[in-house]
Amino acid sequence: MAGSNPATTTEYISHHLTNLVYGKLPAGYERSYNGNIELIEQPTWTLAQSADEVMAMGFWAVHVDSMLWSIGLGAIFAFLFFRAARKASTAVPSGWLNFAEMVVDFVDGTVKDTFHGRNKLIPPLALTIFVWIFLMNLMKLIPVDLVPTLLMYAGVNYQKIVPSTDPNVTLGLALGVFVLVLYYSIKIKGFGFARELAFTPFNHWAFIPLNLFMEVIGLLAKPFSLGLRLFGNMYAGEIIFILIAVMFGAMGAAGVFGGGLQVVLSGDVSQTALPMQSIALWAVGFVVVCTLCWLNLKGKLATKRMVWLVALTMLIIGGVFNLAGGIMQWGWAVFHILVITLQAFIFMVLSIVYLSLAHEDH
């Protein structure tokens, strides 16, 4: 369902695209909620209650959801691979270790294809980036409404569970790589790095300003293209998920059950494109539930069994009601299995390429 809390589609979408932000409200900001207006006298660190407050916080804010999910996923990566590393020995590998070794071998092969020097940092960096970004992207396959809606019941207003749809996260990763690029450029090339910036592509002193201008832009374009590519892909995919959810709803089994409940109990068929079918669905559901209750009252059906059958009916009715949305969400998710893996891989390969360029002395 599109949910009843965000009343309109626009609100629903912008709600889904707003992070949970903890930041500093500046002095003099007028905070309004529930019709009251509160004047902030001191600069205050607090959770933002609306998009306006997020704007007012500006730079001094942290996306709590992005940070928590990305740190949590990073911890899962670290834990899983640490466990594999603890188990790793010359004996016959099995289970998870097999898989971890497969991933390590794949990353190692990719690094060796691109980067020909010896470096203790780049292979583990590539592994971390690949698996971590893959896990962050993987969060997209969780139905878009599920976690935010559940957390809303728990009192958390905003929640974006896919860290890689947050440009701070992707640009943070890209800047991390960029810092390493600069470090290795200076470490390997020394003064040659400055000469490279000043004397390519036109090897004449008169062209130094032009060269510097072009090369610095080229250099800065690397982390931005790296971060924005991942962000753009993930963000666009997420929006498609949200749009499908706007039209059809996406909460997995719970949503299907809820949909059935909604159809049968309230006859709420407003959100479907095919009202006639929904009315028929409601009628069928209503008749089935009434029959079950009647059988139970007559003593021909145990109460426990009746409850199970009613629940099953809800699932079936909700499933039919949500069929189109379910199929579209599912189809897009299947397509996205490819996208999330590919984007993680591209980020890793480009990081390696940039770092290996930093090592090449001309």
């Binding site: 932000v21 930041g23 997020v54 704007m55 916080m57 500006g58 730079f59 001094w60 804010a61 942290v62 996306h63 992005s66 940070m67 990305s70 740190i71 990073g74 990566f77 670290a78 691979f81 640490f82 594999a84 590393a85 603890r86 790793a88 020995s89 010359t90 590998p93 971890a100 070794e101 390590v104 071998d105 190692d108 203790k120 940092l121 292979p123 583990p124 960096l125 592994l127 971390t128 980036i129 971590w132 947050d166 440009p167 701070n168 996260v169 640009l171 943070g172 990763l173 800047l175 991390g176 810092v179």
Partner: protein
């Protein structure tokens, strides 16, 4: 889509996880993998060597078996020859023994014969004297005719 402190938070997080991976994950797994690769290739080499050793041992065993067969054949042949020789020798000695026994028997027979002849001769001479006495009706001077009769007896 605000750029804020999250950017630096993410950079620090990345630095931490990369450090963790570099320190605790990557070396352990790659070292184990390399060692295992080494072990496997060593094992395969050892298996190849063992196969070659086995072939050599089989060849050697075949050769030894052939030698043994030849030797045993030679021994059997020798034994057969020896047996034949022994039989031959036994035959020869048996023949010789039989010849000896036969000769001894012959000699004895000859002796017996000679003795019988001697005895017969002596008896013949006595019988002849007795007969002559009967014929002549008188006693013959034994001593006088003794030579005559003995001569006669010797001529028998």
């Amino acid at each position: 889509m605000n750029i804020n402190l999250t950017l630096f938070g993410q950079m620090l997080t990345l630095a931490f996880f990369v450090w963790f991976c570099m320190k605790f994950v990557w070396p352990a797994i790659t070292t184990a993998m390399e060692e295992r690769q080494q072990k496997i290739s060593d094992g395969l080499d050892a298996a190849d060597r063992a196969m070659r050793d086995l072939e050599l041992a089989q060849d050697k065993a075949t050769d030894q078996l052939k030698d043994a067969k030849q030797q045993s054949a030679a021994i059997v042949e020798q034994a057969n020859k020896r047996a034949a020789q022994i039989v031959e020798e036994a035959k020869q000695s048996a023949i010789a023994e039989s010849e000896r026994i036969k000769a001894a028997a012959h000699a004895e027979i000859e002796q017996e014969l000679a003795r019988a002849k001697e005895e017969l001769r002596s008896q013949v001479s006595r019988l002849a004297l007795l007969g002559a006495e009967k014929v002549l009706g008188a006693s013959i001077d034994e001593a006088a005719n003794r030579d005559l009769v003995d001569n006669l007896a010797a001529q028998l």
